[in-house]
Amino acid sequence: MTAVILIAGAVILLLVSWRFDRERTKESLRLAKAQFLGIAVQIGAILALVGLVLAIIPEGYIRSLLGGPSVALSTLFGAAIGTVTILPAFVAFPLAASLIERGAHVVSVAAFITTLTMVGFATLPIEIRYFGKRFALLRNGASFLAALLIALGMVTLL
């Protein structure tokens, strides 16, 4: 649904731009194409690698890590697993719900979702390419800690 809105928005703006200035519009399309081709292979490789890793690790194993006897340890695992995986949101939330249903701790799942979306170990090479190592490591490190704090905060309110 968001994708539809995004694509529609891009098309509409493109048409508006075309009405005002064809040359600039062509220029922008050329930039878009060059950027896309420049990064597509790398992103494709990362996606394929994550797809492979997730196929090899069974879901039951993840569940047992997130629902272990120690909540604190499970939360750390949750944050760690979220860090190394990427999942589209429409897959992540049903998965999270099923994890809780089958015994994972709510807090661990919260940490999992937060790092899943905000921290990207898999996408780190892409981030480094655009912003450099220092920026990428700092941002991901800070986000990881924040995810743990958010999970911790949620314990008090849930």
């Binding site: 394929a48 797809g51 492979l52 090899i56 709510v106 990207g120 981030e127 450099g132 941002r139 924040a146």
Partner: protein, 236 residues
């Protein structure tokens, strides 16, 4: 050749891993392909549109607008706009990098770039609806309540600990190892459009410095940028 391999190193590695799994455990291979197809479909839905928008911003939005709204002195308003832009966006986090990268090079502050990336990742409004459907409104609301301040804090922290120059020096803006004329390169748009006849903005910056090129050959620089470049060439 080496460069070509370097860029595709990850892809080569991935293909080898797939070949190995195919040989050892064929069912896993098909599972993996199915996963990957799901990701690739998402990427193809989102990424072209994001790049089109990025391209449009590059050619249409003057740096002034970005600096005023997202620059170092944009204050709380700039931070809130950054959260908002991130939250109405679509797609996985890696789609945020090229987009925010172009804003950075137009004058957005590092803190706001980080805020936008983080908000893009975790506070997406449509995603909140999905989240509350599966995990309950209470879970979602509490997580949201903690996440927004956390994002602002992360932005401030990363912004304070990285330098603009350092971050701008990397990236697809310039992949050449020689960085002699950082300033010139920095004020150019950094999109390497090639319209000036040089392969990259960095090449063009070098030619400018040597006196071989004129800033008017750049299609993307606005008057303000051109003035900056002329000034730099006069004093440098």
């Amino acid at each position: 050749m080496k460069e070509l391999l370097g860029k595709n190193r990850l892809m080569v590695f991935t293909l080898l891993a797939y070949a190995l799994v195919f040989a050892l455990a064929p069912p896993l291979f098909w599972d993996a392909l199915e996963n990957t197809w799901m990701y690739v479909r998402e990427m193809l839905e989102i990424l072209p549109a994001v790049f089109v928008l990025t391209g449009l911003i590059t050619v249409w939005v003057p740096p002034r607008v970005i600096i005023d709204n997202f620059g170092g002195s944009s204050g709380l308003r700039g931070k809130l706009i950054s959260v908002l832009i991130g939250s109405v966006s679509a797609g996985p986090i890696y789609a945020a990098f090229p987009f925010t990268h172009s804003l950075l090079h137009k004058g957005a502050s590092l803190a706001n770039v980080v805020i936008m990336i983080s908000a893009w990742a975790v506070v997406k409004l449509p995603m909140l609806i999905v989240e509350s459907r599966f995990l309950g409104i209470h879970f979602t609301a509490v997580r949201f309540l903690f996440t927004v301040p956390a994002i602002l804090a992360i932005g401030a922290m990363v912004g304070a600990r990285t330098s603009r120059e350092g971050v701008m020096a990397v990236g697809p803006v310039d992949e050449s190892p020689v960085d002699t004329h950082g300033y010139l390169r920095e004020v150019l748009t950094g999109v390497n459009c090639g319209a000036c006849g040089y392969a990259s903005c960095s090449e063009f910056a070098r030619a400018l410095h040597r006196g071989d090129a004129d800033i008017d050959e750049c299609n993307l620089a606005d008057e303000e940028t051109k003035e900056k470049v002329r000034h730099m060439l006069r004093i440098g």
